[in-house]
Symmetry: C2
Subunit: 444 residues, 2 copies
């Protein structure tokens, strides 16, 4: 029987980062990653395979990283777990461990909608050959319907639309696309951009069934209308892969993820979990959070990996920071939107501010940038921010995320030591985040 | 005699921001800006007049901002100050005040080098007609020598070089350009880029004199060599404009700026100061800081403006965060470099890390990004970071600045809630700042 000090099940954002972190913190331990995939896809890159990257093979996590970090790689399916004996069962035999990290990720949600089992209906499975098959089907298809208008749905739609000559629909149950991440005004602005690029958005309507005999021919909606389709892609969320954990009797959390404490330890002292398979706790109020993001997976993995042989870190909880881009426009969010803050029960002040992202406004790359910030009213603490503009928004949202994580107050942010430059940012006088803080103070 | 509750002397980054902040915090007060310029230039945009923007008139702060914030504008030179009577003397008469904000900025340093008074030698004066004259001269010139290889010198050189058909030299006293902002390796990388674009850099040598009878013909260097020149531009720093303050008997600080406390109050309880004319205190250790930046001016102005009728804010001190860009490459810094940390007396750990700014690496816009972070060894507190890469570096450095301002430790940064996206940032596994923190922990 093989044996390693540390065995990590899963080789994507969570598993790989947990193993690298373990290597950094425990240089003398033997560490193995057990994964079932021959090749691991960059999870967030999957939509970009179809328009920008060209094929799944262009979207792989480089395996050289294992050698660089002295990680053993075992390509095998984890089939069972004997916690008493500290043995992981795999399709190729048993592997002993001292510490186990479960990072088995998630799989697409498959609600029991009639027709979801027809040929020509694809979920987003993180598998190279599955996605190659999907790609061939996309290239041949004329009418493509994407069910779900969240990040993944929108990114798939825009990428497929880039191929040209296809009719692409997105069907979203909620009144607006992206509305689990942004307030309505930001969603509407983004919907306008997506539509202007030729994607058709159908919102506020449910999918009754996918039509067809053997193969999909269309989608029937709750309002009685139909959309022709020779290909349907489901982008409607994901569920934690907890079969291994469940079978081993580990505690499962309220949202269906593997229960963990702040150290990312499961109900077994030798077993940690991180990433999409693990239950998450919100940074705001400490309740379970349904968010699943690769960046959260990596964050949790850096906690789990450091704690394997002694607690060194406690997870601060899930802030929720993410971004997407359509064409030249990027949109990003960190922490709470107004709608989320209301739902959490905060008394808050919200400020929205526009203005050019360069100074003077005639500098190349100048676009109108829009930022909304939400502050708790009494304390002035920043709860979250949404921002839309050029590509630098991808890092600007990390400024917001940092302020949120540090529980900065509006008054602190008003004294933020900003770096500004004519060719790169808004002016120091007009810098959006700082001015939003000042305007929030006026309203408190 | 005119009288306002609040009179601000100076209408650039500091003065204008102080007035806007005063308006926000004191909605019922009358507020006037007294400035001598008909039109105010965006200070950091000045180099970009010559290549990118086309003329000084394309680089103005829009005056509409005064109406929008109910600010009276008095275009007049401040000539004296009667603190007893609370009266500002101007070239057009007296103006009474309850609170005065001195934001008179800085002027170019003019060391007593022989030939600096010749025709054809220009300093960077923030004046539209002066810069128009300089622009005409630049367009006619063949051989241009820029003395000083800091941000301004480099930006002027690159912009002038874009015009084509000119020989542009930068002469820098220190061994490397930009070395007051970056460690040597970053300076060298940036020098290579600047040189590759056709600008000639002469470093580690002093200017002995500017040659010529009436008009400049060349520059004689300390190593005995000469450079032909029909135009010389000085970018060798600036000195605080404190004539008004000095004449009024206000206390002056160690670095020659107007002395202020943490509230930005001068030695007179009714008079505040901010921006280039005000003495600065470092965030690190509290000693005077020689930095003068528009973003610092705006930060101080937000402290001064809020405190006019009751202390609401205290300046956290000068972190020092700024950026520049040459072609597609941006470079930025926040807080301390290794060299500065050594000078301050810190025991530190420094980590430098490279890697692509997209994921997967085949995404459009992918370039190798380089980040260096400096942590105090015992506490793990982040002291500063330097970063070089694409334009998003302009906001990424604000993430670093935020971490510095919040005195985040390497361990906190290892658990940073990052937003990542294939088209916008590095991957969550490889995100530079977080990995630099992890690597620093290994070295502590």
């Amino acid at each position: 029987m093989k044996k390693f000090d540390v065995v990590v099940v899963g080789g994507s954002a969570a598993g790989l980062t947990a193993a690298i972190t373990a290597r950094r913190h425990y240089p003398d331990k033997s560490i193995a990653i057990v994964r079932q995939e021959q090749r691991v896809l960059v999870p967030c890159g999957i939509p970009y395979i179809f328009g920008t990257l060209g094929k799944p093979e262009m979207n792989l996590v480089p395996d050289a990283i294992h050698d660089k970090n002295r990680l053993d790689l075992v390509i095998s399916e984890a089939t069972g777990l004997d916690r008493e004996k500290k043995v992981l069962q795999t399709s190729d035999g048993e592997i002993g461990y001292e510490r186990l990290v479960i990072a088995t990720g998630s799989r697409p949600a498959m609600p029991p909608v009639p027709g979801f089992d027809l040929e020509g209906v694809y979920a987003i499975v993180k598998d190279v050959s599955y996605l190659s098959k999907l790609q061939q089907h996309i290239e041949a298809a004329q009418n493509i319907v994407i069910i779900g208008g969240g990040f993944i749905g929108i990114e798939f739609a825009d990428e497929i639309n880039k191929l040209g000559g296809k009719r692409v629909h997105v069907v979203e149950l909620l009144p607006h696309c992206l509305s689990l991440a942004y307030d309505e005004d930001f969603c509407i602005a983004m919907e306008e951009i997506i539509r202007s690029r030729g994607v058709e958005l159908v919102t506020g309507v449910k999918v009754d069934r996918v039509l067809g005999e053997d193969r999909v021919t269309g989608v029937a909606l709750g309002d009685g209308s139909k959309i022709d389709a020779d290909l349907v892609i489901l982008g409607i969320g994901s569920v934690a892969n907890i079969d291994l954990a469940k079978q081993a009797g580990l505690r499962i959390g309220l949202t269906g993820g593997l229960a963990v404490d702040l150290a990312m330890k499961t109900s077994d002292d030798s077993i940690f979990a991180c990433g999409d398979c693990a239950e998450k706790i919100s940074f705001f109020g400490g309740r379970p959070s349904p968010l699943k993001l690769a960046s959260i997976a990596a964050q949790e993995a850096r906690v789990a990996g450091a704690n394997l042989y002694g607690l060194r870190r406690e997870s601060p909880g899930i802030v929720g920071a993410w971004a997407t881009a359509v064409g030249e426009t990027a949109i990003a969010t960190a922490g709470l939107t107004e709608e989320m803050a209301t739902r959490h029960g905060y008394d808050f002040v919200s400020v929205e501010i526009g203005g050019v992202n360069r100074h003077p406004g005639g500098m190349p790359g100048a676009v109108d940038m829009r930022l909304k910030a939400v502050f708790e009213r009494k304390s002035g603490v920043l709860l979250g921010g949404q921002v839309m503009g050029d590509q630098a928004v991808g890092e600007l949202v990390n400024v917001i995320s940092s302020c949120v994580q540090n529980r900065m107050r509006a008054d602190d942010i008003a004294m933020f030591a900003i770096s500004t430059h004519p060719a790169l940012t808004a002016s120091p006088i007009a810098y959006h985040l700082v001015n939003a803080a000042e305007m929030a103070i006026e309203k408190m």
